[in-house]
Amino acid sequence: MIIMSILPLLVLAGIIIGIVLLNKRLTRKPLTYQKSKWIIIGYVTVLLVAAGFSFLLPTSEAKLVKEGIDEHAWENDLYYRAFTGDFSSLPAETITKSWEFPFSEETLDLEGLNYADAVLIEKNSNSNGIIEVFYVKGNHVMQVNTTAIAFTDYLPDVDVEIESNILRIISPVQKSEITLSYSDPAFTAKQFIMETGENDNQFSATSSRFVYIRIPADVEVEVSGNLYVEYVGN
Protein backbone atom coordinates (compact mmCIF):
# COMPACT_ATOMS: atom_id res chain seq x y z
CA MET A 1 0.00 0.00 0.00
CA ILE A 2 2.78 2.40 0.97
CA ILE A 3 4.71 1.44 -2.16
CA MET A 4 1.62 2.12 -4.29
CA SER A 5 1.15 5.54 -2.71
CA ILE A 6 4.73 6.64 -3.40
CA LEU A 7 4.84 5.04 -6.86
CA PRO A 8 3.99 8.28 -8.68
CA LEU A 9 6.77 10.04 -6.75
CA LEU A 10 9.21 7.27 -7.71
CA VAL A 11 8.21 7.56 -11.37
CA LEU A 12 8.66 11.32 -11.21
CA ALA A 13 12.05 10.92 -9.52
CA GLY A 14 13.04 8.45 -12.24
CA ILE A 15 12.07 10.94 -14.90
CA ILE A 16 14.04 13.70 -13.20
CA ILE A 17 17.15 11.50 -12.99
CA GLY A 18 16.56 10.52 -16.61
CA ILE A 19 16.48 14.17 -17.66
CA VAL A 20 19.67 14.93 -15.72
CA LEU A 21 21.51 11.98 -17.25
CA LEU A 22 20.17 12.74 -20.69
CA ASN A 23 21.14 16.35 -20.38
CA LYS A 24 24.65 15.48 -19.21
CA ARG A 25 25.00 13.05 -22.08
CA LEU A 26 23.83 15.65 -24.54
CA THR A 27 26.27 18.15 -23.07
CA ARG A 28 29.20 15.76 -23.33
CA LYS A 29 28.35 14.60 -26.84
CA PRO A 30 26.22 17.50 -28.00
CA LEU A 31 24.06 17.42 -31.05
CA THR A 32 24.96 20.28 -33.31
CA TYR A 33 22.79 23.36 -33.06
CA GLN A 34 21.57 22.78 -36.60
CA LYS A 35 20.47 19.22 -35.81
CA SER A 36 18.70 20.32 -32.63
CA LYS A 37 17.00 23.11 -34.55
CA TRP A 38 15.68 20.68 -37.16
CA ILE A 39 14.48 18.26 -34.47
CA ILE A 40 12.45 21.06 -32.86
CA ILE A 41 11.12 22.28 -36.22
CA GLY A 42 10.18 18.71 -37.17
CA TYR A 43 8.46 18.15 -33.84
CA VAL A 44 6.46 21.37 -34.02
CA THR A 45 5.46 20.52 -37.61
CA VAL A 46 4.19 17.09 -36.50
CA LEU A 47 2.18 18.76 -33.70
CA LEU A 48 0.67 21.28 -36.13
CA VAL A 49 -0.21 18.57 -38.68
CA ALA A 50 -1.80 16.52 -35.87
CA ALA A 51 -3.77 19.61 -34.78
CA GLY A 52 -5.11 19.91 -38.33
CA PHE A 53 -5.73 16.17 -38.66
CA SER A 54 -7.62 16.06 -35.35
CA PHE A 55 -10.40 18.11 -36.99
CA LEU A 56 -10.92 15.17 -39.39
CA LEU A 57 -11.56 12.66 -36.60
CA PRO A 58 -15.17 11.40 -36.48
CA THR A 59 -16.77 13.59 -33.86
CA SER A 60 -20.17 13.94 -32.37
CA GLU A 61 -21.36 16.66 -30.06
CA ALA A 62 -21.70 15.26 -26.57
CA LYS A 63 -24.86 15.75 -24.59
CA LEU A 64 -23.45 16.96 -21.31
CA VAL A 65 -25.45 16.38 -18.15
CA LYS A 66 -24.99 19.26 -15.75
CA GLU A 67 -27.70 18.76 -13.18
CA GLY A 68 -27.28 16.22 -10.43
CA ILE A 69 -28.51 12.73 -11.15
CA ASP A 70 -30.48 10.67 -8.70
CA GLU A 71 -29.40 7.19 -9.77
CA HIS A 72 -31.98 5.43 -7.61
CA ALA A 73 -34.85 7.56 -8.90
CA TRP A 74 -33.82 6.77 -12.46
CA GLU A 75 -33.39 3.08 -12.13
CA ASN A 76 -36.34 1.25 -13.70
CA ASP A 77 -38.42 4.41 -13.42
CA LEU A 78 -39.81 4.23 -16.96
CA TYR A 79 -40.28 0.50 -16.73
CA TYR A 80 -42.10 0.80 -13.43
CA ARG A 81 -44.47 3.46 -14.80
CA ALA A 82 -45.24 1.32 -17.85
CA PHE A 83 -45.61 -1.81 -15.72
CA THR A 84 -48.16 -0.14 -13.45
CA GLY A 85 -50.29 0.82 -16.45
CA ASP A 86 -49.09 4.38 -16.90
CA PHE A 87 -47.42 3.95 -20.30
CA SER A 88 -49.06 7.11 -21.67
CA SER A 89 -47.12 9.19 -19.12
CA LEU A 90 -43.73 8.27 -20.61
CA PRO A 91 -41.98 11.25 -22.27
CA ALA A 92 -42.28 11.09 -26.08
CA GLU A 93 -38.49 11.30 -26.57
CA THR A 94 -38.00 8.05 -24.65
CA ILE A 95 -40.05 6.11 -27.24
CA THR A 96 -37.33 5.90 -29.84
CA LYS A 97 -39.07 3.54 -32.28
CA SER A 98 -42.60 2.19 -32.81
CA TRP A 99 -44.28 -0.32 -35.11
CA GLU A 100 -47.85 -1.28 -35.86
CA PHE A 101 -48.90 -4.62 -37.33
CA PRO A 102 -52.35 -5.94 -38.29
CA PHE A 103 -52.94 -9.21 -36.45
CA SER A 104 -55.78 -11.70 -36.71
CA GLU A 105 -54.32 -14.85 -35.12
CA GLU A 106 -55.37 -16.22 -31.73
CA THR A 107 -51.83 -16.85 -30.50
CA LEU A 108 -48.77 -14.63 -30.67
CA ASP A 109 -45.43 -16.40 -30.61
CA LEU A 110 -42.72 -14.11 -29.19
CA GLU A 111 -39.07 -14.59 -30.17
CA GLY A 112 -35.92 -12.68 -29.33
CA LEU A 113 -32.91 -12.65 -31.59
CA ASN A 114 -29.85 -11.43 -29.67
CA TYR A 115 -32.27 -9.39 -27.57
CA ALA A 116 -31.47 -9.46 -23.83
CA ASP A 117 -33.60 -6.69 -22.30
CA ALA A 118 -37.12 -6.83 -20.89
CA VAL A 119 -40.42 -7.13 -22.76
CA LEU A 120 -43.60 -5.73 -21.30
CA ILE A 121 -46.96 -6.85 -22.68
CA GLU A 122 -50.21 -4.94 -22.32
CA LYS A 123 -53.46 -6.70 -23.16
CA ASN A 124 -55.79 -4.00 -24.34
CA SER A 125 -59.45 -4.50 -25.10
CA ASN A 126 -59.41 -1.51 -27.50
CA SER A 127 -56.69 -2.97 -29.70
CA ASN A 128 -58.80 -4.78 -32.25
CA GLY A 129 -56.77 -6.58 -34.89
CA ILE A 130 -53.66 -4.48 -34.25
CA ILE A 131 -50.40 -5.09 -32.44
CA GLU A 132 -48.42 -2.03 -31.40
CA VAL A 133 -44.77 -2.30 -30.44
CA PHE A 134 -42.75 0.49 -28.80
CA TYR A 135 -39.04 0.56 -28.08
CA VAL A 136 -38.41 2.61 -24.93
CA LYS A 137 -34.96 3.92 -24.12
CA GLY A 138 -34.45 6.24 -21.14
CA ASN A 139 -31.41 8.34 -20.29
CA HIS A 140 -28.06 6.64 -19.86
CA VAL A 141 -25.30 8.78 -18.38
CA MET A 142 -21.70 8.08 -17.59
CA GLN A 143 -19.25 10.33 -15.81
CA VAL A 144 -15.51 10.45 -16.45
CA ASN A 145 -13.49 12.78 -14.24
CA THR A 146 -15.76 15.83 -13.90
CA THR A 147 -17.67 15.36 -17.15
CA ALA A 148 -21.02 13.57 -17.27
CA ILE A 149 -22.07 12.53 -20.77
CA ALA A 150 -25.41 11.12 -21.92
CA PHE A 151 -24.69 8.15 -24.15
CA THR A 152 -28.26 7.02 -24.88
CA ASP A 153 -27.89 7.88 -28.59
CA TYR A 154 -25.01 5.44 -29.00
CA LEU A 155 -26.90 2.43 -27.65
CA PRO A 156 -27.91 -0.15 -30.25
CA ASP A 157 -31.50 0.03 -31.46
CA VAL A 158 -33.71 -2.98 -31.97
CA ASP A 159 -35.80 -4.00 -34.93
CA VAL A 160 -39.13 -5.79 -34.83
CA GLU A 161 -40.68 -7.93 -37.55
CA ILE A 162 -43.74 -10.13 -37.73
CA GLU A 163 -44.14 -13.28 -39.77
CA SER A 164 -47.48 -15.07 -39.58
CA ASN A 165 -48.02 -15.24 -35.79
CA ILE A 166 -44.34 -14.92 -34.82
CA LEU A 167 -43.13 -11.56 -33.58
CA ARG A 168 -39.35 -11.23 -33.54
CA ILE A 169 -37.40 -8.66 -31.58
CA ILE A 170 -34.01 -8.37 -33.21
CA SER A 171 -30.86 -6.82 -31.83
CA PRO A 172 -28.21 -6.14 -34.47
CA VAL A 173 -25.49 -8.07 -32.69
CA GLN A 174 -25.27 -10.32 -29.67
CA LYS A 175 -23.38 -7.75 -27.64
CA SER A 176 -22.47 -4.26 -28.81
CA GLU A 177 -19.20 -2.78 -27.71
CA ILE A 178 -19.33 0.99 -27.76
CA THR A 179 -16.04 2.81 -27.32
CA LEU A 180 -16.19 6.57 -27.06
CA SER A 181 -13.54 9.12 -26.24
CA TYR A 182 -13.34 12.77 -25.57
CA SER A 183 -10.58 15.27 -25.38
CA ASP A 184 -10.46 16.84 -21.94
CA PRO A 185 -9.04 20.39 -21.92
CA ALA A 186 -5.68 20.64 -20.16
CA PHE A 187 -5.87 21.62 -16.50
CA THR A 188 -4.21 24.92 -17.35
CA ALA A 189 -7.23 25.85 -19.48
CA LYS A 190 -9.89 24.08 -17.43
CA GLN A 191 -8.88 26.04 -14.36
CA PHE A 192 -10.35 29.22 -15.88
CA ILE A 193 -13.34 27.88 -17.80
CA MET A 194 -14.83 25.02 -15.82
CA GLU A 195 -15.66 24.09 -12.32
CA THR A 196 -13.04 21.63 -11.17
CA GLY A 197 -12.62 19.34 -8.24
CA GLU A 198 -16.32 18.94 -7.56
CA ASN A 199 -18.12 15.67 -8.06
CA ASP A 200 -14.86 14.14 -9.22
CA ASN A 201 -15.97 10.55 -8.81
CA GLN A 202 -16.82 8.26 -11.66
CA PHE A 203 -20.27 6.83 -11.96
CA SER A 204 -22.77 5.62 -14.46
CA ALA A 205 -26.52 6.00 -14.22
CA THR A 206 -28.89 4.15 -16.46
CA SER A 207 -32.58 4.36 -17.01
CA SER A 208 -34.85 1.65 -18.38
CA ARG A 209 -34.57 0.08 -21.81
CA PHE A 210 -37.36 -2.26 -22.91
CA VAL A 211 -39.85 -3.27 -25.58
CA TYR A 212 -43.51 -2.54 -24.86
CA ILE A 213 -46.09 -4.57 -26.80
CA ARG A 214 -49.80 -3.74 -26.84
CA ILE A 215 -51.92 -6.63 -28.07
CA PRO A 216 -55.66 -7.36 -28.32
CA ALA A 217 -57.02 -8.69 -25.03
CA ASP A 218 -58.08 -12.05 -26.48
CA VAL A 219 -54.67 -12.96 -27.97
CA GLU A 220 -52.63 -15.59 -26.12
CA VAL A 221 -48.85 -15.16 -25.92
CA GLU A 222 -46.28 -17.92 -26.14
CA VAL A 223 -42.66 -17.11 -25.44
CA SER A 224 -39.76 -18.90 -27.13
CA GLY A 225 -36.24 -18.88 -25.76
CA ASN A 226 -34.94 -16.82 -22.87
CA LEU A 227 -36.94 -13.65 -23.25
CA TYR A 228 -37.75 -11.83 -19.99
CA VAL A 229 -41.47 -11.07 -20.31
CA GLU A 230 -43.87 -9.42 -17.88
CA TYR A 231 -47.49 -8.37 -18.21
CA VAL A 232 -48.76 -4.90 -17.38
CA GLY A 233 -50.63 -4.82 -14.09
CA ASN A 234 -49.47 -8.23 -12.92
Binding site: I15, L22, T179, L180
Partner: protein, 248 residues
Protein backbone atom coordinates in the same frame (compact mmCIF):
# COMPACT_ATOMS: atom_id res chain seq x y z
CA UNK B 1 41.44 49.31 -20.50
CA UNK B 2 39.20 48.80 -23.52
CA UNK B 3 38.00 51.77 -25.49
CA UNK B 4 34.89 49.94 -26.57
CA UNK B 5 32.11 50.00 -24.04
CA UNK B 6 29.44 47.28 -24.12
CA UNK B 7 25.97 48.15 -23.02
CA UNK B 8 24.00 45.92 -20.65
CA UNK B 9 21.44 45.05 -23.31
CA UNK B 10 24.10 44.14 -25.90
CA UNK B 11 25.91 41.92 -23.40
CA UNK B 12 22.66 40.17 -22.46
CA UNK B 13 21.61 39.70 -26.11
CA UNK B 14 25.04 38.30 -27.06
CA UNK B 15 25.00 35.87 -24.15
CA UNK B 16 21.40 34.89 -24.92
CA UNK B 17 22.32 34.10 -28.54
CA UNK B 18 25.31 32.10 -27.44
CA UNK B 19 23.36 30.16 -24.80
CA UNK B 20 20.52 29.45 -27.20
CA UNK B 21 23.02 27.56 -29.35
CA UNK B 22 25.07 26.10 -26.52
CA UNK B 23 22.02 24.83 -24.61
CA UNK B 24 20.20 23.47 -27.66
CA UNK B 25 20.37 20.07 -25.94
CA UNK B 26 17.66 21.13 -23.49
CA UNK B 27 15.24 21.53 -26.39
CA UNK B 28 16.07 18.05 -27.67
CA UNK B 29 15.40 16.68 -24.20
CA UNK B 30 12.09 18.61 -24.22
CA UNK B 31 11.00 16.63 -27.30
CA UNK B 32 11.93 13.34 -25.60
CA UNK B 33 10.19 14.28 -22.34
CA UNK B 34 7.01 15.34 -24.13
CA UNK B 35 6.96 12.18 -26.27
CA UNK B 36 7.30 10.20 -23.04
CA UNK B 37 4.40 12.15 -21.52
CA UNK B 38 2.30 11.46 -24.63
CA UNK B 39 3.13 7.77 -24.45
CA UNK B 40 1.85 7.58 -20.87
CA UNK B 41 -1.23 9.62 -21.84
CA UNK B 42 -2.32 7.15 -24.52
CA UNK B 43 -4.10 4.97 -21.97
CA UNK B 44 -6.31 7.92 -21.15
CA UNK B 45 -6.49 10.22 -18.16
CA UNK B 46 -9.78 8.79 -17.00
CA UNK B 47 -12.13 6.06 -18.05
CA UNK B 48 -15.57 4.87 -17.15
CA UNK B 49 -17.29 1.68 -18.23
CA UNK B 50 -20.64 0.02 -18.01
CA UNK B 51 -21.79 -3.35 -19.20
CA UNK B 52 -25.09 -5.18 -19.59
CA UNK B 53 -25.98 -8.40 -21.35
CA UNK B 54 -26.62 -6.58 -24.59
CA UNK B 55 -23.94 -3.91 -24.70
CA UNK B 56 -20.78 -2.67 -23.07
CA UNK B 57 -19.95 0.99 -22.99
CA UNK B 58 -16.64 2.65 -22.37
CA UNK B 59 -15.76 6.34 -22.34
CA UNK B 60 -12.15 7.45 -22.07
CA UNK B 61 -10.85 10.97 -21.70
CA UNK B 62 -7.57 12.08 -23.19
CA UNK B 63 -5.67 15.21 -22.28
CA UNK B 64 -2.23 16.73 -22.36
CA UNK B 65 -2.07 17.12 -18.55
CA UNK B 66 0.77 14.65 -18.13
CA UNK B 67 2.79 16.26 -20.92
CA UNK B 68 2.39 19.64 -19.22
CA UNK B 69 3.45 18.22 -15.83
CA UNK B 70 6.48 16.53 -17.43
CA UNK B 71 7.37 19.82 -19.11
CA UNK B 72 7.14 21.61 -15.76
CA UNK B 73 9.56 19.08 -14.24
CA UNK B 74 11.81 19.51 -17.29
CA UNK B 75 11.86 23.31 -16.81
CA UNK B 76 12.61 22.93 -13.10
CA UNK B 77 15.49 20.53 -13.67
CA UNK B 78 17.06 22.49 -16.51
CA UNK B 79 16.87 25.75 -14.57
CA UNK B 80 18.57 23.96 -11.71
CA UNK B 81 21.31 22.68 -14.01
CA UNK B 82 21.95 26.11 -15.53
CA UNK B 83 23.05 27.37 -12.10
CA UNK B 84 25.73 24.71 -11.70
CA UNK B 85 29.41 25.66 -11.81
CA UNK B 86 29.99 24.04 -15.21
CA UNK B 87 27.35 26.15 -16.89
CA UNK B 88 28.25 29.27 -14.90
CA UNK B 89 31.86 29.23 -15.99
CA UNK B 90 30.85 29.15 -19.65
CA UNK B 91 29.87 32.78 -19.17
CA UNK B 92 33.43 33.88 -18.58
CA UNK B 93 33.93 33.49 -22.34
CA UNK B 94 32.07 36.79 -22.60
CA UNK B 95 32.23 40.23 -21.20
CA UNK B 96 29.90 39.56 -18.33
CA UNK B 97 28.88 40.26 -14.81
CA UNK B 98 26.44 38.56 -12.45
CA UNK B 99 23.55 40.67 -13.69
CA UNK B 100 24.00 39.93 -17.41
CA UNK B 101 24.62 36.29 -16.50
CA UNK B 102 21.28 36.09 -14.67
CA UNK B 103 19.34 38.14 -17.21
CA UNK B 104 20.53 36.01 -20.13
CA UNK B 105 19.65 32.88 -18.16
CA UNK B 106 16.16 34.21 -17.55
CA UNK B 107 15.82 35.01 -21.24
CA UNK B 108 16.71 31.39 -22.00
CA UNK B 109 14.22 30.19 -19.37
CA UNK B 110 11.51 32.37 -20.89
CA UNK B 111 12.26 31.07 -24.40
CA UNK B 112 12.26 27.47 -23.14
CA UNK B 113 8.98 28.06 -21.30
CA UNK B 114 7.30 29.53 -24.37
CA UNK B 115 8.44 26.65 -26.60
CA UNK B 116 7.63 24.08 -23.89
CA UNK B 117 4.24 25.64 -23.14
CA UNK B 118 3.07 25.89 -26.73
CA UNK B 119 4.25 22.39 -27.67
CA UNK B 120 2.80 20.87 -24.48
CA UNK B 121 -0.57 22.48 -25.18
CA UNK B 122 -0.48 21.37 -28.84
CA UNK B 123 0.37 17.80 -27.84
CA UNK B 124 -3.28 17.06 -27.00
CA UNK B 125 -4.12 16.86 -30.73
CA UNK B 126 -1.32 14.37 -31.36
CA UNK B 127 -2.50 12.30 -28.36
CA UNK B 128 -6.05 12.27 -29.79
CA UNK B 129 -4.90 11.24 -33.26
CA UNK B 130 -2.61 8.45 -31.99
CA UNK B 131 -5.28 7.24 -29.53
CA UNK B 132 -7.84 7.15 -32.33
CA UNK B 133 -5.53 5.21 -34.64
CA UNK B 134 -4.43 2.70 -32.00
CA UNK B 135 -7.35 2.23 -29.58
CA UNK B 136 -10.24 1.28 -31.89
CA UNK B 137 -12.25 4.35 -30.93
CA UNK B 138 -15.58 4.70 -32.74
CA UNK B 139 -16.18 8.35 -32.22
CA UNK B 140 -14.75 11.35 -30.41
CA UNK B 141 -17.45 13.17 -28.56
CA UNK B 142 -16.79 16.86 -28.34
CA UNK B 143 -17.37 18.54 -25.01
CA UNK B 144 -15.76 21.80 -25.92
CA UNK B 145 -18.82 23.55 -27.32
CA UNK B 146 -18.57 26.30 -24.75
CA UNK B 147 -14.81 26.80 -25.11
CA UNK B 148 -13.92 29.71 -27.34
CA UNK B 149 -10.72 30.77 -29.05
CA UNK B 150 -9.84 33.12 -26.19
CA UNK B 151 -10.10 30.24 -23.72
CA UNK B 152 -7.45 28.38 -25.72
CA UNK B 153 -5.24 31.48 -25.73
CA UNK B 154 -5.63 31.75 -21.94
CA UNK B 155 -4.83 28.03 -21.69
CA UNK B 156 -1.59 28.42 -23.65
CA UNK B 157 -0.59 31.49 -21.61
CA UNK B 158 -1.33 29.70 -18.33
CA UNK B 159 0.71 26.69 -19.48
CA UNK B 160 3.66 28.95 -20.32
CA UNK B 161 3.34 30.70 -16.94
CA UNK B 162 3.23 27.43 -14.99
CA UNK B 163 6.35 26.20 -16.80
CA UNK B 164 8.10 29.53 -16.26
CA UNK B 165 7.15 29.40 -12.57
CA UNK B 166 8.73 25.96 -12.25
CA UNK B 167 11.81 27.22 -14.12
CA UNK B 168 12.10 30.24 -11.81
CA UNK B 169 11.74 27.98 -8.76
CA UNK B 170 14.42 25.60 -10.10
CA UNK B 171 16.73 28.55 -10.78
CA UNK B 172 16.11 29.94 -7.29
CA UNK B 173 16.82 26.58 -5.60
CA UNK B 174 19.88 26.11 -7.80
CA UNK B 175 21.21 29.51 -6.72
CA UNK B 176 20.52 28.76 -3.06
CA UNK B 177 22.49 25.52 -3.36
CA UNK B 178 25.35 27.30 -5.15
CA UNK B 179 25.49 29.82 -2.33
CA UNK B 180 26.08 27.14 0.26
CA UNK B 181 26.14 23.37 -0.10
CA UNK B 182 24.42 23.07 3.25
CA UNK B 183 21.16 23.85 1.47
CA UNK B 184 21.51 20.51 -0.31
CA UNK B 185 20.53 19.06 3.06
CA UNK B 186 18.09 21.76 4.15
CA UNK B 187 15.95 21.76 0.98
CA UNK B 188 15.03 18.04 1.06
CA UNK B 189 14.25 18.44 4.79
CA UNK B 190 11.97 21.40 3.96
CA UNK B 191 10.38 19.28 1.20
CA UNK B 192 9.53 16.58 3.75
CA UNK B 193 8.38 19.14 6.33
CA UNK B 194 6.04 20.76 3.78
CA UNK B 195 4.50 17.35 3.12
CA UNK B 196 3.50 16.91 6.75
CA UNK B 197 -0.17 17.69 7.36
CA UNK B 198 -0.65 20.98 9.20
CA UNK B 199 -4.39 20.61 9.62
CA UNK B 200 -6.60 17.86 10.88
CA UNK B 201 -8.02 17.23 7.41
CA UNK B 202 -4.56 16.23 6.18
CA UNK B 203 -3.78 19.44 4.28
CA UNK B 204 -0.10 20.35 4.09
CA UNK B 205 1.90 23.33 2.81
CA UNK B 206 2.10 21.84 -0.69
CA UNK B 207 -1.68 21.54 -0.73
CA UNK B 208 -2.03 25.19 0.26
CA UNK B 209 0.45 26.21 -2.46
CA UNK B 210 -1.43 24.02 -4.94
CA UNK B 211 -4.68 25.76 -4.03
CA UNK B 212 -3.06 29.18 -4.33
CA UNK B 213 -2.01 28.69 -7.95
CA UNK B 214 -4.02 25.80 -9.40
CA UNK B 215 -7.43 26.69 -8.03
CA UNK B 216 -7.42 30.33 -8.98
CA UNK B 217 -10.29 30.69 -11.45
CA UNK B 218 -9.64 34.31 -12.39
CA UNK B 219 -6.91 34.60 -15.02
CA UNK B 220 -5.88 38.21 -14.17
CA UNK B 221 -5.46 37.21 -10.51
CA UNK B 222 -3.57 34.07 -11.50
CA UNK B 223 -1.33 36.17 -13.76
CA UNK B 224 -0.65 38.56 -10.88
CA UNK B 225 0.14 35.75 -8.45
CA UNK B 226 2.52 34.01 -10.84
CA UNK B 227 4.29 37.16 -12.03
CA UNK B 228 4.80 38.43 -8.48
CA UNK B 229 6.15 35.01 -7.42
CA UNK B 230 8.49 34.86 -10.42
CA UNK B 231 9.66 38.43 -9.73
CA UNK B 232 10.41 37.67 -6.07
CA UNK B 233 12.21 34.40 -6.93
CA UNK B 234 14.22 36.06 -9.71
CA UNK B 235 15.18 39.11 -7.68
CA UNK B 236 16.33 36.93 -4.79
CA UNK B 237 18.26 34.67 -7.18
CA UNK B 238 19.99 37.65 -8.83
CA UNK B 239 20.90 39.08 -5.41
CA UNK B 240 22.26 35.71 -4.35
CA UNK B 241 24.30 35.37 -7.56
CA UNK B 242 26.12 38.59 -6.55
CA UNK B 243 27.27 36.83 -3.41
CA UNK B 244 28.77 33.87 -5.27
CA UNK B 245 32.54 33.57 -5.03
CA UNK B 246 34.55 34.70 -8.03
CA UNK B 247 36.22 32.28 -10.42
CA UNK B 248 39.56 31.02 -9.13
Amino acid sequence: MSLKSVSLSNAVINQYKYKLKAYSGIFTSLVIIQLLGMFFSLNGMGSSGYSTESYSMNITSYSSNLVIVFTMVWAFMNALLVTTRAYREDDFTFVTNRLTYSLSNYAILLTASIIGGVTAFLSSSLINVIAYLTNNIEVFVTINQEIGFMDYVVGVLATILFILLCGALGYFIGMVVQLSKIFMMIIPVCFIAFSVPIQRNGENVFFKLFEFYFQEHSFPLFLLKVLVTIFILSLTAVMMSNRLEVRK
